[in-house]
């Protein structure tokens, strides 16, 4: 399955890029993050993140579809 991943803030810094396309065996956002965390040494624990799929907040165990865009959301600090 092919997905687009977007990175923001500290994750963008750690990944070294703002987005990528990826062939992955992951079927859920949780599996996808675990894969990327291990591969790129991302520092943030999944429990501290939220996830968005196709520009809307999503559940970690929501099934992903081919072509989805996934965004992992670090703890926010607006204001």
């Amino acid at each position: 399955m092919k997905l687009t991943i977007e990175y923001y803030a500290i994750l963008k810094e750690q990944r070294g890029r703002g987005s990528e396309s990826l062939e992955t065996p992951a079927r859920k956002p949780a599996e996808l993050y675990d894969e990327l965390k291990a591969r790129h040494g991302l520092s943030l624990d999944r429990s501290t993140l939220k996830v968005a799929v196709n520009e809307e907040f999503a559940e970690w165990d929501q099934p992903l579809q081919d072509g989805d865009t996934v965004v992992f959301i670090p703890p926010v600090a607006g204001g």
Partner: protein
């Protein structure tokens, strides 16, 4: 800027312009909140500061927050704007304005909106200090 909308902006926030949009539509009581860039964070002197946002979702979630405020409180109109990019000490990072017939709901609605923005809207802050490495505020501890 639009009435009853949340907006991400790359340019300086001008409270007076935003205020007048609410003035045209509503009456009586007006409460506004501004978050200014401080020259310190928990005691550490801040040199520079950058906000970034996941813009599409930030504006969606911000709009939802304002819709919730309009639903929960007896307010006539509300708007909010959050700055992104490099900010200087004294710049406005976030502005919220609420107009209402009476002051109680205007205070309550304004506070609800800023509380929820800080809690829910995907915006991040990176600070540079005089001493020590840059820090993504709220993120550092999350990784431990």
């Amino acid at each position: 800027m639009g009435l009853n909308r949340f907006q991400i902006s790359e340019i300086a926030i001008e409270p007076d312009t935003l205020r007048s949009e609410l003035l045209n539509k509503v009456a009586g009581a007006y409460v506004s909140f501004e978050g200014w860039v401080r020259n310190h964070n928990e005691g550490a002197p801040v040199q520079a500061l950058e906000y970034s946002a996941y813009r599409v979702l930030a504006e969606k979630e911000g709009d939802r927050i304002i819709a919730e405020a309009l639903d929960r409180f007896e307010i006539a109109g509300a708007a909010a704007i959050h700055r992104v990019g490099m900010l200087a000490i004294g710049d406005i990072a976030v502005w919220v304005g609420v107009g209402s017939a009476h002051r109680g709901p205007a205070f309550d609605g304004c506070r609800y909106i800023i509380d929820e923005i800080k809690d829910r809207v995907p915006i991040w802050k990176r600070e540079s200090y005089e001493n020590g490495p840059d820090q993504w505020v709220n993120c550092a501890k999350g990784g431990l």
